[in-house]
Structures are given as structure tokens and as C-alpha cells.
Amino acid sequence: MNAVWYYVQSDSDFESKSGPWEDDMGLLTSLKSSISRATSSLFAGSEPKRIGIYGPPNAGKTTLANRIARDWTGDAVGPESHVPHETRRARRKENVEIKRNGKSVTIDVVDTPGVTTKVDYNEFLEHDIDKDDAVRRSREATEGVAEAMHWLREDVDGVIYVLDAVEDPFTQVNTMLIGIIESQNLPVLIFANKIDLEDANVQRIANAFPQHETVPLSALEGDNMDEVYDKIAEYFG
């Protein structure tokens, strides 16, 4: 199956292009879209669920998205980096078909920018990035975080929350995001990533969020991916 990565335009961009005079067109477009969705679902079964990959910066979200994409579509996708906020726009890969135990589950994977409450361009300077580029990156990063929050509130059907198993999970961003996800009644799986590293502590993550299932993995090395796909099929199928 062919799958395509999209850079997703933020809702605010869409909003700026619409006006009251476009309401009728919007209704028609919406109606067409609804009919199209209903028709396609008649012939193709249920719509793929949009699964957002969320988490703090540098947890390995894009590495995981790439791993899933490579395993099931063969595509090489977005750049991975140790520099925080490398992913500054949400990216979507549609129609990722995951086959488990004789059944198949089709999802759209939405790789989102790492969520934070602060962005300081000086952080980028520490990674040998010049000031102009650092300022540009920090501006794009703030836009990306806002976009990720927008998606979470309105446009995803489930969440994979990725944490770096080496880092302390008791951070405010994690607490707030898990709370926001729960308030939306979205199904959520917590992935404890980077278990290939010596200091990884999966149990600490499980203890921090006992109300959710924690799955250990290394997206980079491909460790425990069978269980990862079992759980994705179970939770989001």
C-alpha cells in the first residue's frame, strides 16, 4: 500500500483564509466531504484512525514514526536529530496498514513537534547553530507546539505518548499532556522509548502513569516492536 507523508497546515492558516462569504461554500464542501467519507466507508470499511505521536522534545517520536513507516510501508521519512525541536511541523503518514494475528489495522500516523512550555533560542546555539538560524528555529518550534496542541484538542482519535526511559517522567509537561489527553477521552498508550540505553528505567514510567499501559521499546534499534504493534492493533484497531 502506498502511504504519503504530508506537512500539515495549521488550522490558524485555514482560518485566516476563510470569511463569512465562504460559509455556503464551506457547507457544500463539508457536505461533499461527508458524502465522500460515507461512500468510502461503505466500500472500504471504517476510516483509518488518526493516531497522534506526542511527547516532550527528544523522546524519539520521529524515530518511532519512521520505524512504523519503514516496517509497514518501506518509506524513509522525516529527519531524526539530537537537536531539540527538529520536528517543527506536524507530519502525517496516511494509510499505514498494520497486520497482526490475521487481521489488519489501518491508521494515519501524525508525528507532532515535542510539546514544551518554553523555547529559548540559546538552546540551539549549544548545537553549533548560528544565531539567525537559532532564532528561526525557535520561532518555528513555538508554532509547532501550538499546532500540536490544536491537533490534540480537535483532530486525533488516539494518542501514542512517547517518553525517553532515561529521563524523569515526573515533569509538568507530561502531567499536563496526559491530563489533557484523558480529558478528551482519547485512547492512549505510553511508550517507554530508548530501552537500549543503560540507564533506561521503564518501571519509573509505569509508576508515574499507573492508569495507562506502558510498553517498553527502542524505536532506534527496533527492540520489542512486536509488542508495540500488538498494542497498537489492540488499542486503535
Partner: protein
């Protein structure tokens, strides 16, 4: 809980929302810094403790402005009852839109982690452990550093710059 600020200019601090009555973060409650009279300049950190009662009737954006205006003035804002998840989500979004390279770098927020489903349900709600609106401390990102955090203790360092 009454609102307490380090610098009281005599305005009614319980007057909500109009932004002109000495509300936290409106920039009017600080002591004079030019030494030209009035109260002496105080070298310290202003802490605005905002009661649940004060923000109870506010709209989401009014709460967010109250918080961000205070934080952008360099104050520490303590909410007796924190924001709900949707408001937290919008707080992050608005904060991101206000970050600029030459000044505001964002916020640091501290509150206790959620109790989790082990404590939810009827019993959890009855004993109050299921309430997401917990005491919350918000300050400028460049002034607050978390030293330790778990379910029962948050230890934070607040600096002047």
C-alpha cells in the same frame, strides 16, 4: 483565600478582570524604581497568590491573560485552584504565540501529578483525589527551576534573573 502581593499600591486587589485596579501583572503594582519619592524600591520577587474565588467566574482567556500578564512582568503566580486540562492546553498555545527571542522565553508550571485511575471513581472523587484542579505555581521560564518533583513534593528554585 485573599490575594497577596509583595507590593501593594492600595488598589483593591479583589477587583477582577478590568486590568486597571492593581491586578497582578498589569504593571501598576510595582514599587517605584527611580527613587523619586513614594515607596522605596524593593529588591525582590513579586508573588501573586490568586484565590479560587477570584478566577471562578472568569473565561478561559481572562484566566490566561491574568496569568501571562503577571508572569511576563516577572512575577510568580500561584493559583489556589489550577486550570482544567482544556485551559492548560490553551495556556500552552497562547504562551507559544507570545515567546520572542529577545524577551519572553515561556513559562514554567508546577502542580502535583494527577492521581491516576487507581484513585478515581466514586471513592476518589469523594476524598477529592480525583480533582484535577490543584495548587499550581506558574512563573517565567528563566526564573524557575524544578529541583525535585513527585506525587507528594515539588521543590523549586526561584531566581531573580
Amino acid at each position: 483565600m485573599p490575594e497577596i502581593t509583595a507590593n501593594d499600591d492600595g488598589d483593591d486587589p479583589t477587583n477582577p478582570g478590568d486590568g486597571s485596579g492593581g491586578a497582578p501583572g498589569d504593571g501598576s503594582s510595582g514599587a517605584p524604581e527611580d527613587g523619586s519619592g513614594g515607596e522605596p524600591s524593593i529588591d525582590g520577587i513579586q508573588i501573586d497568590m490568586i484565590s479560587a474565588e477570584r478566577i471562578e467566574g472568569m473565561r478561559t482567556m481572562e484566566k490566561i491573560r491574568l496569568i501571562l500578564d503577571g508572569v511576563r512582568d516577572g512575577n510568580i503566580v500561584i493559583l489556589e485552584k489550577g486550570l482544567d486540562p482544556d485551559e492548560e492546553s490553551k495556556l500552552i498555545e497562547v504562551t507559544m504565540s507570545e515567546i520572542n527571542p529577545d524577551g519572553f522565553t515561556g513559562i514554567e508550571v508546577e502542580s502535583y501529578p494527577g492521581a491516576g485511575s487507581n484513585d478515581s471513581g466514586l471513592l476518589g472523587r469523594l476524598i477529592g483525589r480525583d480533582d484535577p484542579n490543584k495548587l499550581t505555581v506558574i512563573g517565567p521560564a528563566n526564573r524557575i527551576e524544578t529541583l525535585h518533583k513527585d506525587e507528594k513534593l515539588i521543590s523549586t528554585l526561584i531566581t531573580r534573573t
